[in-house]
Symmetry: C2
Subunit: 287 residues, 2 copies
């Protein structure tokens, strides 16, 4: 918008290519952390516009400035559809932002988070204190393979949140029909599965494939959308999966009252509005 002065300083810019032909670029203050972990290339940079940014394999996972959208939307939408959720399983989510949001609900008795990469958890604790705070003690963090956990557990959950990276790299196995089927089996009959699933604008084929896999397993699969400025195209897709034809309405209007003024994105109008899909997205899903 404005004209910029280049004062002769060395400028460092990070660019993420969303496709071979387009991308987003941020001016960088400094690189805070870099580690080739057992699973991925983990980098934390400090930027002028978005604050601290976590990158995995070169892709933006979260930024200080807009992480709230992703974490609120993957969490509060399912919990407000079924206010009886007591047992929650988070697969991935090593930055702890999803755990922070789930832990706001006092009636949720048991939260398990299974993250494969310990370094994501420890570096998030170090560099993103706002993400790693929690509001209850009803949680357990397990460092391990989420797929293994789901296949071996004897527990039954009311909500499973798959908070993974994209279907390339370590997250790949979390996008298979076989995995979704096992999630279905460890959910109770009113249980909900929620997951992030990329941009319908840029990654049409990938998003459609995920949708079709989920539809083979769950009776009711509903896409919903949120504005995430630092994710490709700014239009981000989530799926909410149910075993039965339940209404998607907010069930208990009082449930989030106590922390409504600390949430920055989610409210009950957004809940309903996020299920409104543009025609090109509806067409893509054949709905």
């Amino acid at each position: 918008m404005k004209e910029f002065n280049n004062s002769g300083q060395t400028q460092l810019w990070f660019t993420e290519y969303h496709t071979p032909n387009s991308g987003i670029t941020f001016k960088v203050k400094e690189t805070l952390y870099r580690k080739k972990t057992k699973y991925q290339d983990l980098v934390i940079i400090d930027t002028y516009e978005f604050g601290k940014v976590m990158l995995l394999d070169g892709l933006v996972m979260l930024t200080d400035r807009d992480e709230f959208v992703y974490h609120e939307m993957i969490t509060h939408v399912p919990i407000n559809i079924n206010p009886k959720i007591e047992n929650v399983l988070i697969i991935g989510g090593g930055d702890c932002g999803t755990l922070r949001e789930v832990s706001r609900y006092k009636h949720i008795k048991n939260i398990k988070m299974v993250e494969i990469d310990k370094d994501v958890i420890t570096s998030s604790k170090k560099f993103f204190p706002n993400l790693t705070k929690t509001f209850s003690k009803n949680y357990k963090i397990i460092v391990g393979d989420g797929i293994d956990f789901v296949f071996k557990t004897k527990e039954i959950f009311d909500l499973i949140i798959i908070d993974s990276s994209d279907p390339i790299g370590p997250g790949e196995g979390l996008f298979t029909e076989k995995f979704y089927r096992k999630c279905y089996e460890i959910l109770n009959e009113n249980g909900i599965l929620t997951l992030q699933a990329e941009s319908p604008y840029f990654y049409k084929d990938s998003v459609k494939t995920i949708y079709n896999r989920l539809k083979k397993v769950f009776l009711n699969v509903k896409p919903y959308l949120a504005f995430i400025p630092t994710y490709p195209s700014g239009m981000w897709n989530f799926f909410l999966c149910l075993k039965e034809e339940t209404s998607l309405d907010v069930k208990n209007k009082n449930l989030i009252k106590s922390f409504q003024n600390v949430l920055k994105y989610y409210n009950h109008q957004i809940h309903t509005g996020s299920f409104s899909l543009p025609n090109f997205v509806k067409k893509m899903y054949g709905i």
Copy 2:
């Protein structure tokens, strides 16, 4: 998402800086047109990802690939709130995309478009044939100053759409309280004013100023949002301004039926959903 090969070819990239510290970047095939017009620097480039792109003073005005969102949302939202709209004034809109959308409605008898920069119209006709097609002959294009037109006209309109560039450069005068007040005066009592007003994510102060000016003039000012990937942050704000407390619901559900399957964004769920605002946006507006 994927790894790219650089095959040794010269690569040309266009970057728009949305703030001094962040931006969007596209790979360019070629520059198709460049002219310093009487009012602005007009450039048309062909890109790999977004097709042809029109730039004014270095900022993306529209791209072949996502122009539909802006043009459908600035048009169909107001028209579906008041299905009796017959006289429409478009201020700006030289690329003709808004005119295309308004002209879909057979009951709209009189459309006037007042664009200051003739070169925007002629270059859009040459390079964006998809934008410049119309579906009725009930329109008149006037090359002239929209502010002058509004201050001098004796006509009364049912809908005014301000389809301008941002409040810097030639569009500046279209964002003043004085101008909004004059628009109010030439609207009938059920009349609607709609305008685009930037990203609430990046240009908070500017968007708030516009909102406060509109509120001084109109009884009922409603922000609404749409996903526009090539605009800053991907979250774009529009204002709908009414002289009375009218419901924002779609009034005549049959109205858009005949062209619903050619629209790529707007539908009646999107209409309702677009008025759902995230908490940080509500807070910004004090609503």
